[in-house]
């Protein structure tokens, strides 16, 4: 398609003798333009390839004045009216491409050390930090864990995390509404998480923007509390689509609320058929064992194939049995 006027065939060809060409006539407009060709002829062509590299070359031209001069082969696929001085530069670049490159670096770095990393996303007040501090407290005997905390301002959350004994780094995004992979990359460098550990990245409380920014994590974990309303998954579909697992938090409050759990899960599956849903209460501890099992199993599989200085068996027979149990539950 012609990117100038949108017509389907933009290849304007100009034949002929005289170089005061031409009439690039599309259906609805006609125009002429002066072209500064000194017939002699040294002119440079620069053209862009869609694969991203550019090269320009000068060459002298023998104009036989018989052949066709093709102005439709440039990126615009048309000779553009009134634009003899300008040119088209084809970019074809993802706006988030830069973030994606940083995210890929983070992912490789973490995977090489068998670190299982999670990006925790939710709206403000869903209980992310409480869920996290309880997890850190309950699993501290079994796993090495560290935390990257994202908030617009204050380091109160990192402080709450450090009180559990886990190393934590606070990122303040200032005006930003999400963490990006570059910030997280720096935080990982500083934090130096251990081989085979769990890394939790607590994103800024926001169900919109963090969905679009890959940080290099293995999974996004969406936390939704039952005080929020069961239609959140379809109100904020991007986030629930990006998440691999949804923790339905504060289920201890269900007796006091009109929250429809089945409907909520149905909505979540509607935007993401593959999402796994666990019902938990970080306060009462209900359902938390399933979450811990999920973490442990994933961390173990993350370690498979990772070479460590001291190889230790990663899965005991008991855990394998538990894994079987979980799989059956998931299938059911």
């Amino acid at each position: 398609m012609c990117t100038v006027c949108g017509c389907s065939e933009g290849e304007a060809r100009v034949n002929g003798q005289v170089h005061t060409h031409g009439e690039h006539s599309h259906d609805e407009h006609t125009h002429s333009h002066a072209h500064d060709h000194s017939h002699g002829h040294d002119h440079s062509h620069s053209h862009n390839h869609s694969n991203g590299h550019e090269h320009s070359h000068s060459h002298s031209h023998e104009h036989s004045h018989e052949g066709a001069h093709h102005y439709g082969q440039g990126p615009a696929r048309a000779h553009v009216p009134g634009m003899s001085q300008s040119r088209m530069v084809q970019i074809e670049q993802d706006i988030l491409g830069k973030n994606q490159r940083y995210a890929n670096q983070n992912r490789v770095k973490l995977q090489n050390k068998g670190i299982f990393s999670l990006n925790l996303v939710s709206s403000p007040g869903s209980g992310k930090t409480t869920l996290l501090t309880r997890t850190l407290h309950d699993l501290k005997e079994q796993h090495a864990m560290s935390v990257i905390e994202g908030d617009q301002e204050t380091s109160q959350d990192a402080q709450r995390i450090r009180e559990t004994g886990a190393p934590a780094i606070q990122i303040n995004t200032g005006k930003g509404c999400h963490l990006d992979a570059h910030m997280v990359g720096h935080a990982i460098e500083k934090l130096e998480p251990e081989t085979g550990s769990l890394l939790f990245i607590e994103n800024v409380g926001n169900l919109v923007c963090p969905a679009a920014f890959d940080l290099g994590e293995e999974h996004k974990v969406a936390i939704l509390s039952v005080t929020e309303g069961e239609d959140k998954p379809i109100k904020y579909p991007d986030m629930f689509h990006a998440a691999s697992i949804m923790l339905l938090n504060k289920v201890d409050l269900l007796p006091y609320l009109d929250f429809d759990v089945e409907q909520c899960i149905a909505y979540a599956k509607q935007v993401n058929p593959r999402i796994k849903v666990l019902k938990v209460s970080a306060k009462s501890g209900e359902g938390m064992q399933d979450w811990y099992q999920w973490l442990t199993l994933n961390q173990q599989s993350q370690m498979l194939g990772v070479e460590t200085a001291s190889q230790k068996p990663i899965a005991s027979t008991k855990n394998m049995a538990d894994a079987q149990h979980i799989t059956e539950q998931a299938d059911g």
């Binding site: 084809q90 970019i91 074809e92 509404c177 689509h241 935007v271 058929p273």
Partner: protein, 113 residues
């Protein structure tokens, strides 16, 4: 807020391209925005103007190419067009859909001087 940082991303790509391909001014920017990309076009246009002020893309026109969302329906084994992530398959009304396109945000090309 989010559109603001996207526009900053766009400007960064433009500035990198300006250096690499030596141009001084951008007249038009073509962006391809998928309907599932979560980008609010009006907000994007507003932010674009603000972010590009006094830059190589000062006063540049922003042309948005909206691309529709596509999904693969596992039941029908066909590619279908959807409007939102939670839409059912227009053919079988099922939700076994895998989104295959429409979440892109790309800078297609620039008209430069």
């Amino acid at each position: 807020m989010h559109e603001m940082s996207l526009c900053e991303g766009v400007l960064q790509v433009i500035e990198d391209a300006a250096k690499a391909q030596s141009f001084d001014k951008v007249k038009t920017v073509w962006l391809e925005v998928g309907s599932l990309s979560g980008v609010e076009i009006k907000a994007l246009e507003f932010c674009f103007e603000v972010v590009c002020r006094n830059s190589v893309a000062h006063d540049a026109a922003l042309e948005i190419i909206e691309s529709p969302a596509q999904a693969w329906c596992m039941q029908c084994a066909e590619s279908v067009v959807i409007n939102q992530r939670y839409d059912p398959c227009p053919m079988c009304e099922g939700h076994q859909l895998q989104v295959t396109g429409g979440d892109e945000m790309r800078i297609k090309e620039l008209e430069v001087v």
